[in-house]
């Protein structure tokens, strides 16, 4: 009798544990398996290279996580990356010193933020579903990027600017440091700030949020501005790394970002998710990309595998919700 009770308790703890850390376990498992099969996979160099690749769409994924937790979505982030990249490149090209670098990063984030402001306003005050509002922006921002750059890559030759992605501190690439800082700031904002609590409230039950005096409209606008700013930042980072801005940058990144959030366990139904979850999701994608590349898997097959993993993660989420 006692034995069965403790077993039941233990079972419950196991399931709660898997519920919470299942994706972390999968990440560790994936990494371990790949490390045993690929020489040098577990080296610092390789790990940082993975992190560097993850950093840009990972930052976008953090913004998108906020949107998804409000039961919304942002499809425009990839196009904002392109627009921000040509803006940043135009601002910084031929300049010297860190002043213009700052201006270029600031300009990219400002442009992104402005796109987000439009997304948020249309969604919150125009009562247009965010899927549609950001779908429009996805098309329009890409168009603006082409227009702004005449459809050609824009040179971003500035030693200071490209050094952001080029240098590393104690072997940690600059872009990874930015990713970590953004993640810490956003995690704090989401879990500890009033704004974050309101984001959860809106996703949990928008009617109740209203009854509780949450300013739903302003909170939503802030969420989409944040998405835009982070996408703009990712655009500047990519420009720094590529030595150029390009209106074709960021193609499909919005979907990678959404995939990262969803794989990490952020629920598309809203109300459930966190920054660490979306980081785990981004890392799973990053580790898998790198691993499949190093194993020499056909890129077409890589896409197929990625697609299946996304579907699997959503199925898992649906299963969890059915149980509770």
């Amino acid at each position: 009798m006692i034995a069965t009770t403790t077993n039941a308790v233990r079972d419950m703890n196991y399931s709660a544990f898997f519920h919470k850390y299942g994706m972390v376990l999968i990440l560790i498992l994936l990494f371990t398996v790949l490390s045993f099969n690929i020489e040098g996979f577990a080296s610092f160099r390789n790990i940082f290279s993975i992190l560097e690749q993850v950093s840009m769409f990972g930052i976008i994924a953090i913004g998108v996580t906020f949107a998804i937790v409000t039961a919304g979505i942002d499809l425009s982030t990839g196009s904002i990356v392109a627009l921000a990249s040509v803006v940043a490149a135009t601002l910084v090209t031929g300049s010297e010193g860190y002043g213009m670098t700052l201006v270029a990063f600031g300009g990219a984030m400002l442009v992104g933020g402005f796109c987000g402001l439009i997304n948020g306003t249309i969604t919150a005050y125009g009562r247009i579903p965010p899927f549609i509002a950001t779908l429009g922006m996805m098309t329009a921002a890409r168009g603006f990027a082409q227009l702004f750059s005449d459809g050609r890559p824009v040179d971003a030759s500035s030693d200071a600017f490209t050094s952001i992605a080029g240098t590393s501190v104690f072997g940690i690439p600059g872009l990874v440091i930015i990713y970590v800082l953004v993640a810490i700031a956003c995690h704090t904002m989401m879990s500890r700030r009033t704004f974050g609590r309101h984001v959860y409230a809106i996703g949990g039950n928008v009617n109740t949020a209203r009854i509780c005096g949450v300013n739903v409209e302003i909170t939503l606008v802030k969420v989409y501005v944040l998405c835009g700013v982070l996408a703009g930042l990712a655009g500047a980072m990519l420009t720094s790394r590529a030595f150029a801005g390009n209106p074709t940058f960021g193609n499909m990144w919005e979907l990678d970002a959404i995939a990262a959030a969803v794989i990490g366990g952020v629920s598309l139904a809203g109300g459930v998710g966190s920054v660490p979850m979306c980081i785990v999701g981004a890392l799973i994608i990053g580790v898998m990309n790198k691993g499949l590349n190093m194993l020499g898997v056909d890129p077409y097959w890589q896409q197929i595998i990625k697609g299946m993993i996304i579907i699997g993660a959503v199925l898992l989420d649906a299963q969890k919700r059915k149980k509770s």
């Binding site: 700030r193 009033t194 409230a201 009617n207 949450v214």
Partner: protein, 527 residues
């Protein structure tokens, strides 16, 4: 074979949810081909019992369910349907964009080769409907069919599935008088085919007119089964409500102070018009009326959730401008809404988060929400209101209805409101929690709060309120004092009479039993 004359026997069926026993050894025996009423108040356990029958819930160990003499334990509604059960739900949701015949054959379409045989389906549907005496065009879209017709179609669909038992859940809620009578006719036709009907209702008139037997459950307990021919209306009411109010609650007197909240000429076209009342410090002000009489809309307007178009809200003698809930919160109004799931709870968030959401400022430490501070406060409220939850970090979805309601009340108490609006605060919660909430309301009044309470339960309103405003179709019929209020008077006013008219009638019809113990529900008035 089955040699008893019961088509269905449910013996000692129990169902426990986390924190609440929804059904406790309930029995239900349905005779073959009979119409059997299942009665009980909201939250009594009727729908839980039916969901067990329909394979949605699994009952606790120990009970026995026999269908046609054989053990019956469906795993899903499909299982139940295959075994000969059919449910006509309270709110029918047909596919509006398909035709009547398409809905009739939904999921079992007749095909000819690879295509659907529309002609055959139309013909067959017409045939079944004609047999039951339901005249209906089968090729019109469902969106053009009335609720009553849709209901009859659902019954016909159940019959065509060769159901042995049809469960009808409050089928007359949305029907007019003449539609109700047509429904009776169809139900009797169905009965003639040897099909048993479980008829869930809390309208007494219907049960007496239509049903052969009636079983009553109350607070998850089986009370009894009677022949409708052998029982009076009063006996039936007693079975349903018992004498709970008397045992549960006696009201202390409270000193009533100056006017705190004043409402002048409040209007929202289509919902309510020209509403005037005031509430004093320490007063419990009741609002009565049928569902849809505008009673909830008035308080939603005062709170700014759906603002009124014109009119004044005056607090402490000063006109205030409440355009949205946050304005109301600033003026220290609390509002426990009618529908917990829709406008009350954030189901996937913790007890603490649900409690503190309206004002996070007290829990900030250098700009960050301190979970430690927050849970300290919610733990204190948990103790004070005796909220049964393993922890304040528990996701609120796991709490019973009564405890969820306590959390929602605690949410507003944390703001130390001067005015507390409670819309159906005891809907769907168990008796124990009810009694505690009554006590709490009076304590709050004693502490000088102005309380506005809306309820469909007459006894609850009469026991709690100092004055009661009665609504009829968006208009204010009048306000009666506690001393004058009886169930008869309020019912009459809810039908549109003024307070003076209702009081006059009451005097003519002496002796009227004042505050008798039978808890009439508004739903019974329509009969």
């Amino acid at each position: 074979m089955n040699n008893s004359n019961y088509i269905l026997e449910m013996n000692n069926v129990s169902k426990t949810f986390p924190g609440v026993k929804a059904l406790d050894n309930v029995n239900l025996r349905i005779r073959t081909g009979s119409i059997h009423a299942l009665m009980g108040e909201n939250g009594a356990g009727k729908s839980t019992l039916m969901k067990i029958l329909y394979g949605i819930y699994t009952p606790d160990e120990g009970g026995v369910v026999l269908l046609d003499g054989k053990p019956f334990q469906p795993n899903s509604p499909i299982d139940a349907i295959r075994s000969g059960l059919a449910m006509v739900p309270q709110e029918i949701s047909p596919s509006a964009n398909l035709s009547v015949a398409d809905n009739f054959y939904l999921g079992r379409e007749i095909t000819k080769g690879i295509l659907m045989d529309q002609k055959q389906m139309n013909a067959e549907t017409t045939k079944v409907l004609d047999e039951l005496g339901i005249p209906m065009e089968v090729d019109v879209l469902m969106s053009e069919v009335s609720v009553a017709q849709a209901q009859l179609l659902a019954i016909a669909t159940a019959v065509s599935y060769d159901a042995k038992i049809i469960i009808m859940d409050e089928p007359t809620t949305a029907l007019t008088e003449s539609e109700v009578h047509r429904l009776y006719k169809i139900v009797r036709k169905v009965q003639e085919r040897g099909i048993a009907i479980i008829y869930i209702s809390h309208k007494l008139g219907e049960v007496f007119e239509l049903c052969d037997e009636v079983s009553v459950i109350r607070d998850g307990q089986y009370i009894g089964t009677k022949n409708t021919a052998d029982i009076t209306k009063e006996e039936m009411i007693n079975m349903m409500v018992g004498r709970e109010m008397d045992e549960m609650f006696t009201r202390d007197s409270v000193d009533i102070g100056e006017v705190l909240l004043e409402i002048k000429n409040l209007n929202l076209p289509g919902k309510f018009e020209n509403i005037n009342f005031n509430v004093r410090k320490g007063e419990v002000f009741g609002i009565a009326g049928l569902v849809g009489s505008g009673r909830s809309e008035i308080v939603e307007a005062i709170f700014g959730y759906v603002p009124a178009e014109s009119g004044e809200v005056i607090i402490h003698g000063e006109k205030v401008d409440i355009k949205q809930p946050m304005d109301a919160i600033k003026h220290r109004i609390g509002f426990v809404t009618e529908d917990r799931k829709k406008t009350g709870l954030m189901l996937n968030m913790s007890v603490t988060d649900n409690m503190i959401m309206p004002d996070l400022l007290p829990y900030l430490e250098s700009g960050l929400v301190s979970d430690k501070l927050a849970s300290a406060v919610s733990n204190q409220k948990k103790k004070q209101l005796r909220i049964k939850t393993p922890s304040v970090d528990t996701i609120i979805d796991n709490l019973s209805g009564g405890n969820q309601q306590k959390v929602l009340i605690a949410r507003w108490l944390l703001l130390e409101p001067e005015i507390l609006i409670l819309d159906e605060p005891t809907k769907g919660i168990d008796v124990g929690a009810k009694a505690e909430i009554y006590k709490l309301i009076i304590e709050l009044a004693k502490a000088g709060k102005a309380i506005v309470i809306i309820s469909s339960e007459m006894l609850e309103l009469l026991a709690l309120s100092d004055r009661i405003m009665v609504m009829a179709e968006g208009r204010e019929s009048g306000i009666v004092d506690r001393a004058d209020a009886t169930q008869e008077i309020i019912l009459e006013m809810a039908a549109g009479d003024t307070a003076e008219q209702a009081l006059e009638h009451a005097h003519q019809n002496e002796p009227s039993i004042k505050n008798d113990q039978q808890n009439y529900k508004f739903e019974e008035v329509g009969q």
